[in-house]
Amino acid sequence: MDRGQLPMATVEGALGALVILGVVAGFTLGAPPPTGTGAQLDAYAGDALTILRDEPPRHGGETRLAEVTESARDFQRERGALIDRIERVLPENVMFRIETPHGTAGHPKPSRIATGAATVTTVNGDVTLRVWYA
């Protein structure tokens, strides 16, 4: 003390407090709060696909999805109408991409972004709808 040094105990106490507060800060700031974004996007995808699945077809087949997945030609013909329909169903701030056995439609999916997805099995294969916030 006489030589201008802090007592060792004070230094240790301060360091200990720093360590404890550091750990607390790591827990509270480090872990991002779960926002439910993924669950909400999954719900959007599931709902949109359910609505499409139950819709009557435009031309032939049992349902709209069955009609779209029938063949590559049917998919190309229905593609524009399908995009229009999904855009009308989904909220405006949500982008989508739909994958069918005969091709995909919608927006290209950006990388490193939270998405939600839903898959429904049709007679011609799986149809997957992916959605994300614009």
Binding site: M1, G16, I20, P56
Partner: protein
């Protein structure tokens, strides 16, 4: 002696600092845990309620994710609590496109789950076929049932076929009002079996086409 006392004061100061830091840490962690648990409960209740609202077995829906417009208009808070088993501890608000439909209390913040639904409303449309080319008529809209008012002036109608299938038949003649179920997913052609050509006004057909609009159902739960 002087040296030893200084060390004691420093030690006490250090211990106090450490205790305060530990206390703050525990308090922060505890409040974070409580908040998180409350948010998780709210999210759980909101998700479960939204699932039950749009399920095919829900009293509000016609099919999965297709809500009945008039049932939705008639929904009130007691229905919500009784049919969907919302715990009393939670306030619930249902909104459509930001417009509150029903709320059990001031659920201003809290967890919101949005579901995409179609709202289906049944309309009524009446046509009077002119029977220009034979005794059949194609329905202009898809419907799940038709109401036929048969009152021929000069002949008797002995049967009605829907897409070739007999749905009404009476050799003595059909007259009056009948409700007939028809296929919902195909274009429907009604054929009337009659002794002579039917005149305009002999038959009135009422259709019940459904109009659906896509909308967002917001379920907010505040604990």
């Amino acid at each position: 002696m002087t040296r030893g006392q200084t060390n004691l004061v420093a030690l006490i100061a250090a211990l106090v600092t450490l205790s305060v830091a530990t206390g703050i840490g525990v308090a922060v962690a505890d409040s974070a845990l409580v908040d998180e648990r409350r948010a998780a409960d709210e999210r759980h209740v909101a998700t479960a309620l939204s699932e039950r609202l749009v399920a095919a077995s829900s009293p509000l829906t016609n099919r999965t994710n297709v809500l009945d417009g008039s049932a939705l208009d008639g929904l009130d808070t007691t229905d919500l609590r009784r049919e969907y088993a919302v715990p009393d501890a939670y306030d619930v608000r249902l909104a459509r496109n930001g417009e509150t439909l029903v709320e059990t209390g001031p659920a201003r913040d809290g967890m919101t789950i949005r579901r995409i639904v179609l709202v289906e409303r049944t309309q009524k449309r009446t046509i009077t076929p002119s029977f220009g080319g034979g005794n059949d008529v194609s329905l202009p809209r898809r419907t799940d049932r038709v109401r036929l008012a048969v009152d021929p002036a000069n002949t008797t109608v002995t049967g009605v076929r829907v897409n070739g299938r007999v749905v009404l038949s009476d050799p003595d003649g059909i007259a009056g009002t009948y409700t007939v179920p028809v296929p919902r997913r195909e274009t429907v052609e009604l054929a009337f079996v009659a002794g002579a050509a039917l005149e305009p006004g002999d038959v009135t057909v009422t259709l019940f086409p459904r109009r659906t609009t896509a909308t967002t159902l917001e379920v907010t739960v505040d604990g």
